[in-house]
Symmetry: C2
Subunit: 373 residues, 2 copies
């Protein structure tokens, strides 16, 4: 017979998951109701409203997809891209390659625009790619979890719009920790997760889809190659803007996850978005300062660092895995890097509840001891 | 500002979700670890082992998909069916039609074999359909939630195997409440949910995929039209049978859901599968007897009733919606029916924690009062 679950208590300072807010866990344990219960329909409305505020958008089509963040991005790619469509994919690290793989799986023809790890794309590179020919979609990562770079988006949004294309953004690591101004930056579709800076466990893929993207979906020439992720079917349940139509069953929503996500959004708006973003920036600044005191620096250029995900250079002669192992023995998870940064950097996340001064101090004092500095 | 979530306490006796076991909610609130933490890799192994036992299978490829039950079925259909493949879909109600829609979305050519609502398929009907030509897959619903019918599968499995086809089963409502003997009945692929008879909240799609199905997937001529649901990519994370290969990142698993699901499976095996199935049958038998005392009967013929989902005929002159509304005021959810049964029957689920004599008595005594019998 199995014993009941007894997980270790770990301070999660990798690239995600972060430690969820305790109130989120309480909400996930609240009494379940049916997915068509009037109470739950109200929860759905509240969730859509609060998610729109976080994405800084008036897009009606703003919901958590019943899958993880990757499932939300697949939803966007499979609804926007038809077989044969050209997709410009900006690559600034691993998760840009992931977007390319999603585009290919959707039948798209990928035109990569890439820079080295740690760099971000110059908007002019996107403009030049359009000179080679039109594209249905431009897909980009906002905060690249593999390199710690934060991609500026506003100028790219303008260029994409001028070229009559659709801008799709992977906001998995950024949303909840920095501004994602979907309407202001002319983003047509964005996807994130319920974990990381949002403060709930992984399990949902919150997306927003703007009217130009919805129009493109309505004018597809072939059906979406998915039943589960088909946005037109999905919004028969979540409800189209014409609210006089009754909601009809699509799939049974993950009620407990949506309870927890609704609570995470409530906590974000109770704290205030500006205050929350400032808290993430302050924790980052403090981390940089305290790491400098023990002789550690960041890989990513200061001009475009994502505050919630810090790529810390491993000093010469220090063994990556053994330090991470020692930190884990002290109840603190930090993560290794991969690709060209494997063995050369740690990825240290300060996300959601963990973006605070006491967490930074606990991390750095332990790292100092483990490194013997 | 929003108030914290405060859902009503409802006894959930519709077709699902049912009330999860309290220990499952406790497990879902346990401290989160990372999806690549050694502790979580052990949880994954335990989950696979216990899910195999429930499916009565030795299939290595037995995991909860990171989506709801419908997402698990989409995973199976999209991996098994290539564009142009012929798929025999057995239809005994609404969820058979759903399987047909999934097959069409996967590019399949559907050959329906249908019977009237409340009936089940004669294995000979499948044999006759094979006389019209071969088919890659035969897809069937085990417990049809729209009609309360339980489809016998053993003889059909033999026929499908003789015709060198693959048997895919929707076990969403049956698993955990009645035997699903995947190996004994020659089922090649089955999908269920984490809720209903399994006792966790909705959010996962537990599947099992046998070696013949895996072989077919490995011999596909075109890639799976999904990145998220692509089983070959997915098992780079869950691990292939050659356990010497390190697990690599695919997507961030819904840790809390898998904690809860692992606890639900633990509770099932602690109770014992035979004892659990007997409890569901006894609750059903008691319901039928107690309903008869107040003059109510079941729609589904006694020869093939799914014990966990009872289709109760609404007496002449009784208003469906007002009775359900009165029951909900008393904190008890029962569900309406749809299609040809709309307004003519209630769907009453006795699933998981709710398949007990006290629950049946509470239900029937309240129904008696509300009906004035």
């Amino acid at each position: 017979m199995r014993a009941p679950l007894d997980p270790p208590e770990i301070l999660l300072l990798g690239p995600g998951p972060s430690n969820p807010h305790p109130a989120v866990s309480v909400a996930m344990s609240a009494p379940l109701v049916s997915h068509l219960d009037p109470f739950f329909l109200t929860v759905m409305e509240e969730t859509m409203t609060d998610l729109r505020a976080l994405y800084q958008t008036s897009n009606h089509h703003t919901v958590p997809i019943s899958a993880t963040g990757t499932g939300g991005l697949e939803t966007l790619m499979f609804n926007l891209v038809e077989p044969g469509d050209e997709v410009i994919v900006g690559g600034i690290g691993y998760f840009g390659q992931r977007l390319a793989e999603l585009a290919i799986a959707a039948g798209g023809v990928v035109r990569p625009v890439e820079v080295g790890w740690g760099e971000v794309l110059d908007p002019e590179a996107i403009a030049r790619e359009f000179e080679r020919g039109p594209a249905k979609v431009v897909a980009l990562v906002h905060a690249e979890t593999s390199t710690g770079a934060l991609q500026p988006l506003a100028d790219i949004g303008r260029i994409v719009r001028e070229n009559d294309s659709l801008l799709m953004v992977d906001a998995v690591t950024s949303l909840g920790g920095v501004a994602v101004d979907a309407d202001g930056w002319l983003i047509d579709a964005a996807g994130s997760c319920s974990q990381k800076c949002l403060g709930a466990p992984p399990g949902l893929g919150p997306i927003t889809v703007g009217p130009r993207a919805i129009d493109a979906i309505h004018h597809r020439s072939v059906p979406v190659a998915s039943w589960y992720f088909d946005l037109r079917r999905l919004f028969s349940y979540w409800g189209e803007e014409d609210s006089s139509r009754a909601r009809v069953f699509h799939h049974t929503a993950p009620i407990a996850n949506i309870y927890g996500f609704r609570e995470a959004l409530r906590l974000i708006h109770t704290e205030g978005m500006e205050a929350r973003f400032a808290r993430h920036q302050q924790a980052h600044d403090l981390l940089v300062a305290e790491l400098a005191e023990i002789g550690l620096g960041l890989f990513t250029p200061e001009t475009h660092r994502a505050p919630m995900l810090n790529i810390v250079e491993i000093p010469e002669g220090v063994d990556d895995a053994s330090i991470r192992g020692s930190m884990l023995e002290r109840g603190i998870e930090i993560s290794g890097a991969f690709g060209p940064l494997a063995g050369k950097a740690w990825r240290i996340g300060l996300m959601g509840t963990n973006a605070t001064a006491p967490v930074v101090s606990r991390l750095v004092s332990n790292l100092k001891e483990v490194l013997g500095r």
